[in-house]
Symmetry: C2
Subunit: 429 residues, 2 copies
Amino acid sequence: MSGDGSDIVVMKFGGTSVAGAEQIKRAAARIVAAREAGNRVVAVLSARGKTTDQLVEQAHEISDRPVAREMDMLLSTGERISCALAAMAIHDMGHEAISLTGSQAGIVTDSSHTKARIIDVRADRISEALQQDRIVLVAGFQGVSTDSRDVTTLGRGGSDTTAVALAAALRASVCEIYTDVSGVYSADPRIVADAHKLDRVSFEEMLEMSASGAGVLQLRSVEYARNHGVRIHCRSSFEDGPGTLVVSEEETMENPFVTAVTHSDSEARVTLTGLRDEPGVAGRVFGALADANVNVDVIIQNEPVGDDKLADLSFTVDRADLTTAKDTIAALGDVSLEVLTDEQIGKVSIVGAGMRSHPGVAAKVFQVLGEERINIEMISTSPIKISCVIAADRVSDAVNILHKAFDLGEDAIQPEDPTGPGHRPTVAG
Amino acid sequence: MSGDGSDIVVMKFGGTSVAGAEQIKRAAARIVAAREAGNRVVAVLSARGKTTDQLVEQAHEISDRPVAREMDMLLSTGERISCALAAMAIHDMGHEAISLTGSQAGIVTDSSHTKARIIDVRADRISEALQQDRIVLVAGFQGVSTDSRDVTTLGRGGSDTTAVALAAALRASVCEIYTDVSGVYSADPRIVADAHKLDRVSFEEMLEMSASGAGVLQLRSVEYARNHGVRIHCRSSFEDGPGTLVVSEEETMENPFVTAVTHSDSEARVTLTGLRDEPGVAGRVFGALADANVNVDVIIQNEPVGDDKLADLSFTVDRADLTTAKDTIAALGDVSLEVLTDEQIGKVSIVGAGMRSHPGVAAKVFQVLGEERINIEMISTSPIKISCVIAADRVSDAVNILHKAFDLGEDAIQPEDPTGPGHRPTVAG
């Protein structure tokens, strides 16, 4: 692809990594170093620090419900600014650089404005620029819709997905995601003092971690990476040294049965009481939510009770989607007696690929939380994850107690008993 | 073009007209009113108030000499923000609106980054949107280069040119330029208390006025309008009532021999002393300046003197171009003994289509300035303009004394003597 056989590296820098002039110059220096090490470099940048928030604020000064197509036109400017500035910095370091919009970079999406999905990557222009010995800077988070040729955005954290999609299309040797943390941790280090950085996690584990609150990588980007076999290296833009590799399960050296504790405190719960117990009612509810682009997480439906067979249905959504969720349900008419919401809930999850063969893990989670008198309001599981919805103000306690109970701390000893404390992965630091 | 035979109106709103949320809503209301009056509306917007300055500042935090291609990528975001926000406001007023980048709007330019020229307008997408009964918002000041498909910008005030070019391509009935002043005045009202608004000026007069400092319309846009016969209506975005029509000379009702006094205080003079008096030296100097996109205004070359036939060559440029001009000349090697510069100069001009047939005007200008002891350092004339380069700190005096001498004031009486006070055009207010 690169013409001279040298490796293509895709590097992605997040908002804090390009926030000020100094940060942009530092990112530029990293990009130049990768080029000078003999790689062909494509760098994907996010909008600077507060830029997106400021643009959103400008939109809300104009309209309570800004039309989505125009929101995309507005927000897509942030990443372009970052790329243009980084290209200037790289030029001053003596290298040719060229910034491309998502559209120019060939990121083709569907027309789902503000939450578009990448459907094709036509990277000809990037390949051409790489052939011309240029460093290519691509505005993350955005694309162009295939049918209407409109600017689209990929939704929150979409720059990660841009980077992974480009890495896949260009057959890059690695997709390096630079952030303000030095890798993926066994728990959020802001909450758990002895959380440790993980050397490697599998795509499956990372998927569960991203889905359950680990903010370091966006879920969709991990999904994309797994589907296309793109190795991700998640690392710090402020420190040197290795971060965390996200790779296929065969590449991970061991299968700890618990790898990490993740959490989220930006959840909201919606409960529909007195739901008519007819075939298709739940389908209508969740179909409408899906059409409105609301991601539903944990779902619980009670056994219908009473003569009229009315049931209660609860589910959780991202708190930012709560208004949309309520509006969507209201638009369905009389599917239920009442719609209740709770914005004071959070979620704690434990994730580990080794959990598949160790059924004792769930019991231990419930027991540990019970001992701490933390009430579990909803539960959802996958073969490699257990999530518990709890009160928002107990999330921090729950994360700490689980991290300790599964012995994930920096200096913990590795036990062998699978239903005892967790098997700890090898850690560099 | 519009499909249903209704008139197409192009409206252009400048930076102060979209500076804050309130101004954007006001501009949106004007656009909607034009639509509801039965027109098809295309609106061209500039970047909000200080946006462009802020982006330039961000670039200079990164680089002393930002590479031009990336400067264009950076600066073009400002107008896109304005358009997206205005589209949101129009949606809330119940109309369909769509914002387009310069590229999407079909503004095709050459590759002269930061000062690109429009070479084609492919307005298919605009026409299509108008057919669909949409209001179209176009990001001013920008286009896409025909060869490299890069984002380009048209240089300072380029949004006026975007508007006029679209009006020409769409055969619009009028191109309305909305600004923070209510029209074209007989002199800058901030300097001359009794300056009056002109009802109509000819393209030729407006060209001379724009070239000599009247900031209300950009020179290139007037040139484009003249060449394509686009009627411009220059008016206030904050007040109702008519502004100034810029039309072909046949449409002006009278030919005042002096229409307006204009001035500029952002000039700089470059003097090359001891210029070798050889054929082609001046050609090399001005050829190089043209290649560097420096617009040269007044030029004077002294008679070569002495045995070695060395001459002095002086010319004026926009003060913002002075560094580029000096660098360009330095790069030519030893064309002269010394390069002197003066940044403390300004220019005062009188403009009037009727001047062509009235040779006494120049004499009167020199006499009036002489009586005020204002030293004229350089002179340049055209059939309908006389410009004098003077000390920057005397510009304001010169404008006032000439405005008075040619009797251009609001309540002045119209004399008949062509070498006496000026013939005043009919004024509304």
